[in-house]
């Protein structure tokens, strides 16, 4: 048991570190660019040097690297402040689906531009009536000649307004059972009839959109998998989702609350002197360490060519409520002044307030706490599903709030 790279990993790390050290965009280069331009500049630079999407095959614009090399590259890149990526969903979820289900010509056509950052992709699965029950989607596609005509609404689509392409699942036969009447497509997001409206969140951000479709036409050639096979294709996308959504990233953690407690006085002495504060901090430290070392165990599995299990759902299930409680606790430490949410006036530029307001979203996006617990019980512990009343009957006959 050690923390050292294998020799091959060590060599790869040196190579990656060297390239990164010489190629990280300078402030001057980024000056005057918006966040999309910055992300594209950095992605293109990596692509040109063979450091983009390194696990992809070379013919699709990647490097043919393995999983642990990806981890190493990410670790090394993480040592720098680089432009925020806008390609996570496209490269992390859409691309694996395309590579598994699209034909070779299509992949040759679309993948390199996705790897290079020229094109941004988004994912259109959720619908207002869906939520945790993703397969309950109702939006229809109707065959018309060589096209499918699409009407309806998708929701929770990140980056829809700056995306070039999207993947989506539609109901092509409402009289089939729920999971069998679905079909999967990709489409040009600039197609006529698409209207995008940002969703304002309680945290103040607007990372997601509603996307309205009016008689949008998708060529049948852009169908992935057979008609009616959409759920199976969607599972390819979703299996890649869990890996890419973390516990909410950045945000409040042990370090920030420990520092706050060390620098905030309660009754004339730093809060960190208070045994109650210490005990809470200890618990959070222990949780964070547990998550970190669980990650190390997963990386070891990757390094050995094994596939880490759905144990990774733990990260989100533990991390998201922890962030909420820690943020709430930090505001309490600040006492009355915790209410102030102002970049200039608040501790850490409002990190604690921002996390208090954002963390309810962490507990929902990418699978609620409750869904995560189901997943662990079912896929890890092998416990049976809850009783399903929506199986084996036509989708149109499944009870809904309207019925």
């Amino acid at each position: 048991m050690d923390f050292k790279d294998t020799q091959q990993e060590a060599e790869f790390r040196i190579e990656a570190a060297k390239w990164l050290g010489e190629n990280i965009p300078t402030d001057a280069e980024l000056e005057g660019l918006d966040h999309i331009q910055r992300a594209k500049l950095w992605q293109k630079r990596k692509y040109d040097a063979g450091w983009a999407c390194i696990r992809w095959p070379k013919e699709h614009g990647g490097r043919g690297a393995n999983a642990i090399e990806q981890v190493i590259f990410d670790q090394e890149q993480g040592k720098y402040k680089t432009p925020d990526s806008i390609f996570g969903i496209g490269q992390g979820m859409c691309a694996p689906t395309m590579m598994a289900w699209a034909n070779e010509d299509q992949n040759k056509q679309y993948m390199p531009a996705l790897a290079s950052g020229e094109h941004v992709w988004c994912q259109l699965f959720s619908e207002p009536a869906g939520g945790s029950d993703l397969a309950a989607l109702r939006m229809r596609a109707v065959k018309d000649g060589d096209d499918w005509v699409v009407n309806g609404q998708k929701i929770w689509t990140s980056g829809a307004h700056y995306s070039d392409y999207g993947v989506l699942v539609l109901r092509t036969d409402p009289d089939m059972p729920k999971h069998q009447g679905l079909t999967y497509f990709f489409l040009d997001m600039k197609s006529p009839g698409i209207e995008i409206k940002p969703i304002r969140q309680i945290s103040g951000g607007a990372n997601f959109n509603e996307v309205y479709f009016t008689d949008v036409r998708i060529p049948d050639a852009q169908r992935l998998g057979a008609v009616g096979q959409g759920w199976q294709v969607a599972l390819t996308t979703l299996m890649n989702e869990r890996a890419s959504i973390g516990g909410g990233g950045g945000g409040v953690n042990f370090d920030s609350v420990f520092e706050l407690a060390s620098n905030t006085n309660v009754d004339d002495q730093p809060a960190i002197k208070d045994a109650g504060v210490r005990r809470k901090l200890a618990d959070w430290y222990v949780q964070e360490a547990g998550l970190k070392f669980t990650g190390y165990r997963s990386m070891t599995a990757l390094s050995r060519g094994e596939i880490p299990g759905p144990e990774n759902s733990i990260g989100k299930l533990v991390g998201a409520p922890k962030q909420q409680d820690m943020a709430s606790f930090a505001l309490d430490l600040l006492d009355a002044s915790g209410i102030i949410w102002d970049e200039d006036l608040s501790a850490r530029a409002g990190l604690f307030q921002a996390t208090y307001m954002a963390s309810p979203g962490f507990r929902i996006a990418g699978g609620t706490d409750e869904i995560m617990a189901n997943i662990i019980a079912e896929r890890v512990l092998g416990m049976p599903q809850d009783i399903r009343v929506d199986k084996g009957i036509p989708f149109s006959e499944i009870p809904t709030s309207g019925s």
């Binding site: 939520g131 945290s203 006085n265 006492d335 617990a373």
Partner: protein, 370 residues
Amino acid sequence: MNFEFSEEQNMLREQAQGFLQDNCPTSRVRSILDGEESFDKDLWQKVVEMGWTATVIPEEYDGLGLSYLELSVIAEELGKAIAPIPFSSSVYLATEILLAAGSAEQKSDWLPKLAAGSAIGCLAVAEGSGTTSGSGLTSEIKGGKLTGIKIPVADGDIADFAMVLAQSDQGPTVCLVSLNQSGVGCERVKTLDPSRSHACLSFTEATAEVVGESGQGLVLLESIYNRAAVLFAWEQVGGADTALDMAKEYALGRFAFGRPIATYQAIKHKLAHAYVKNTLARSNCYFGAWALATDAKELPIAAATARVAAIQAYYYASKENIQTHGGMGFTWEFDCQFPYRRSKLLAINIGSEAVWQEKLIQAIEKDRAA
């Protein structure tokens, strides 16, 4: 044993509920949260007309001379409605300080105005982060002149006068400062709950008068906080019930996997636990209200008990309400944000959970030593 509100008090509650349903739907909360106004002036005017600001003010000062049980009823209903008005600052804090420690002149100057709603008061204690104890205090009062900076001050930009904690030669002292004078600067600050306004107040040689005994400010505030804690707790319990109701209604109507999410144990047990927390908090508020209304020696314990329970209940109900709603609950468009924001404001406005847990144990120790 008659541990229940009277028929008249329950009638007051019905009347208050009807009034607030008409005059304080969540769309009003939203318009303050989302707009430029610092409070709902229209609602405030009507609340004043209902006589709510005059509830416990004695009749000799144009008040209604009712008891704290009536005020508890009003507090709970305002909490349920998540009302965007400076009621707690003006009624539970500023009015209470005047009643407890104001001179005859101060009382006759201000209480009739507070009762009639022609003046709004607020309390200014905090000077930045952490709890404010005597020794850290930098605001100073000297020869009737106040200098210092107070931030945040709930409703500081709305109020006509502030009760300010400042250092005098005798020690920490509460003083009354009219905010309509040169020497007072006021800037709104951005907060987590913009449905209730907060300000930074700066005083430069502002005219101020001592309230109560000079140097006895902390003792005065301690007793005021104990009184206010009960009323805050009622607001919190009201809000917690609103959050639970929202969650339950949504769960009954929202379907997943072919059935209402209200049929899933994860949701049922979540809401059952919210109900339990709310019920225990409410029962503790009953005792708090009794202690406040009868000026019982149990007030310090009763107040801390009610406040701790209410803080915990409101946090749990408001966060799990969003969780029950899923993604929709996280959107600006939905109302789930109101109780979630307000729960934190009320939780830290007069001392946080840990502060009151400590007060509770101290009060119990004192009680048992006696």
